[in-house]
């Protein structure tokens, strides 16, 4: 027997999803910008191809990243994804070898047992079906975990599990039904024919002992086919869309496509590649310090997919970038959030099923028509010429200690510098950008750029990571932009700054915008190692925490900020250091308010360590020379 009516649902589902995947991919490809198209082509037919395949295997099947961060969760994904892959893979081979003929239609592989009930009695066949049972068992074990996760999130080591919408639920049940139904269907068939291996076989004979297995088998084959069909058909409407999308995304990523600051096919792909695994929720300080657990990236992605108004979610974020680091799919979450911030409020519209299957490319209202900030009142600019330009930044003006230390350092190292915003400067513009108002930020950027150009400086030193990031990314300057930690490091290396060693134990807090934001991790530590004894904390580099004072979050209250700051300070002062060092005025102020330990900027520590240079005028005139010539007579 080669065909049976019950396979139709499966076939429909299968061919639908293949067709759909192809169409959707084409659409995405079409939507890519021209340059990105080229990139992708090169990426696909070039060296990155191998890399992509490897990554697909490691991430989409093995789920390595998740395994690393959280083994049980990883195992769950692994067993389901990889297991299923194996099942299909070996199923096909099985059908090919043992089937009546070669090169079968997919359903032959899927429902092999039904069509070859006699198969697997002895010899190699038995071994093979044992192998198949093993895979099935493997999957079922993962399924069990998933089930437990739903019931008690604790089991797989997740604090929060994402909330589901109805379609997701249906898809989920159908997914969960697939393997049990296969198990039962196979078992019953095996039971009838006395075939099957350790799993299906044993179960089969067990059921056969008290159930009319022959009659029962058929309906369960139906169930199996149906659940498969349903799952495939619903897939595009649910978070499981991430399975096919991720593959496409990996190619795109490896071809060097990035989110940029505009909405596009790539960012859309990313939103669809989010599997709502919830790792970002665990990583988010707003969740574990401030108890806000409905604004994390997973929810943002979901909101965008179901085109809801995500403006509140978008603005309620510290933009610390911890989730970017943690995301197993490697979605660029913060850039996507920035895009939404620029968008402001999007209008919610109920979509027809058809629209849901083929959502039109998300269009975002361009800059708001309203009361836009205007800075035409800014004063004229005529700075004096200099080599090094020091820009303290707004926040630094609230931490005079940093300014005075920087002055001391600059003078001690004999640099010809000019204090750009000594009498108060204009904001660098990043706060505006973080509020999604790029056009307005431009005005400030242009203003400051002019100042910098006119000063003719070679180097621009700033004490504020917030300014540093924007100087680096959004200013088009032909000067070398340095954060003061980097600048100090250079001074030390070129030997123009003589420092003594302070007997102090120091823990370093990496500011978000300097660390994850601009990738400056080492310089500060080098400097600190040079003058103090630097201790390790549990939150180094990519894994560092946000102090909570972030300008990026417009929504949370002072109290919530404080909660975050307290937790961070507590963490970093665990191995009670003498000084909790940081390199950001905002972090300094925020942390100082949250701990007993002395909080200091690296500049302050360095300034303290400066050795007074011995100048000639300081040398006492030991032997008193006679000034006038002595008359003899």
């Amino acid at each position: 027997m080669q065909f049976d009516i019950f396979i139709i649902p499966f076939n429909i589902g299968l061919y639908f999803i293949i067709f759909y995947a192809v169409v959707r991919s084409i659409r995405w490809f079409r939507d890519l910008s021209r340059s990105d198209k080229l990139r992708l082509q090169r990426g696909f037919f070039g060296t990155p191809f191998g890399q992509s395949i490897k990554e697909i295997f490691l991430e989409s099947l093995i789920h390595r990243k998740i395994l690393k961060t959280n083994f049980r969760l990883g195992y769950m994904h692994l067993s389901l994804a990889f297991g299923w892959f194996l099942l299909i893979f070996f199923g096909t081979i099985e059908a090919d070898i043992f089937g009546s003929k070669h090169l079968n239609a997919p359903y032959k592989a899927i429902f092999f047992k039904f069509f070859n009930p006699e198969h697997g009695r002895m010899g190699f066949e038995a071994v093979y079906s044992f192998w198949m049972d093993l895979i099935l068992a493997f999957i079922l074990s993962g399924l069990l975990l998933a089930l437990l996760k739903r019931l008690t999130p604790g089991v797989v080591g997740m604090k929060k599990t994402t909330k589901l919408k109805t379609l997701d639920k249906v898809a989920l049940t159908s997914l969960w039904l697939i393997f049990p139904s296969r198990l039962l269907a196979e078992s019953f068939t095996s039971g009838t024919y006395g075939t099957g291996s350790f799993l299906t076989g044993t179960l089969g004979s067990f059921f056969a002992s008290f159930l009319p297995v022959q009659e029962l088998a058929y309906p369960f084959w139906w169930l199996y086919s149906l659940s498969l069909g349903t799952f495939f058909v619903l897939l595009p409407l649910t978070r499981y869309m991430h399975i096919p999308t991720e593959i496409f995304l990996i190619f795109a990523k490896n071809s060097g496509i990035t989110t940029g600051d505009k909405l596009g096919a790539f960012s859309e792909m990313q939103t669809y590649s989010c599997s709502s695994c919830g790792i970002c929720i665990d990583a988010c300080q707003l969740n574990f310090s401030a108890g806000i657990n409905n604004i994390q990236s997973a929810y943002l992605m979901k909101g965008i997919r179901n085109n809801q108004d995500v403006s509140d979610i978008a603005f309620n974020c510290l933009m610390c970038g911890r989730c970017d680091q943690k995301c197993p799919v490697g979605i660029e979450l913060t850039p996507i959030r920035m895009i939404r911030r620029r968008a402001g409020e999007s209008t919610i519209s109920e979509k027809s099923i058809w629209k849901k299957y083929f959502p039109d490319r998300q269009i975002i209202p361009s800059a708001k028509p309203y009361i836009k900030p205007s800075y035409n009142w800014l004063p004229g600019t005529d700075p004096e010429k200099t080599d090094v330009l020091y820009f303290a930044g707004c926040m630094t003006h609230l931490t005079p200690a940093i300014i005075s230390s920087m002055k001391k350092i600059l003078e001690a190292s004999g640099v010809n510098y000019n204090f750009m915003d000594e009498k108060g400067g204009v904001c660098c513009g990043r706060p505006l950008m973080l509020a999604g108002q790029d056009k307005e930020a431009r005005e400030l950027i242009n203003y400051n750029s002019q100042l910098i150009w006119k000063s003719g400086a070679k180097t621009l030193v700033t004490s504020c990571p917030i300014c540093y990031k924007i100087f680096k990314e959004s200013y088009y300057l032909d000067v070398e932009v340095l954060h003061h930690t980097q600048f100090i490091k250079n001074l030390i290396e070129e030997g123009s700054l003589k420092l003594s060693f302070l007997r102090k134990r120091v823990t370093y807090h990496t500011p978000c915008d300097l660390g994850r934001g601009s990738g400056v991790y080492d310089e500060p530590k080098v400097v600190l190692n040079h003058v103090t004894r630097l201790q390790k904390s549990d939150f180094e580099d990519e894994n560092s925490l946000c102090c909570g004072g972030s300008l990026a979050n417009l929504k949370i209250s002072y109290r919530q900020k404080k909660m975050i700051a307290r937790d961070v300070a507590a963490e970093l002062t665990k191995n009670n250091p003498d000084i909790l060092a940081t390199s950001c005025p905002l972090c300094k102020k925020t942390l100082a308010a949250a701990t007993e330990t002395k909080v200091a900027d690296i500049a302050e520590i360095v300034a303290e360590a400066i050795v007074q240079p011995v100048l000639r005028k300081n040398i006492p005139d030991t032997f008193h020379r006679i000034k006038e010539p002595v008359n003899l007579i």
């Binding site: 009361i371 707004c394 204009v426 904001c427 509020a435 108002q437 417009l554 002072y558 109290r559």
Partner: protein, 114 residues
């Protein structure tokens, strides 16, 4: 109409009951800390914009409370959102969000009024 070489002068009173306080309500619904300002003026004192121009957040937010919105509408645009005020505020008022919400409220007013 006769011209006598002088005219009626508009009353200077803040007509509290006639004024439109919807903007202020919009803000304090979304940012409750708007209510706890005590007019100490720290924000205006430290303000980066205020350094160059007579921009005073303290004044603006009290004008909003009194429904004297016209002046605020233009002035509020001068804020650079740099956040110094948020750091110095003794009552922990989320000043930046107040500015954002004020702009938003004015925008909506314009959009839906017409």
């Amino acid at each position: 109409m006769g011209n006598f070489g002088f005219t009626l002068i508009k009353e200077r009173h803040i007509d509290f009951d006639a004024n439109d306080k919807s903007i202020a309500e919009y803000i304090s619904d979304r940012e409750p800390s708007f209510r706890i300002c005590i007019e100490c003026g720290c924000c205006s004192a430290t303000c980066t914009s205020g350094n160059f121009t007579p921009f005073s957040l303290r004044e603006l937010q009290i004008l909003l409370r009194r429904g004297e919105n016209n002046k605020v509408k233009d002035e509020i645009r001068k804020c650079m959102l740099c956040g110094k005020c948020t750091l110095v505020c003794p009552r922990g008022v989320n000043t930046r969000n107040i500015v954002m919400l004020a702009r938003e409220a004015f925008q909506k007013q314009e959009k839906y009024a017409v």
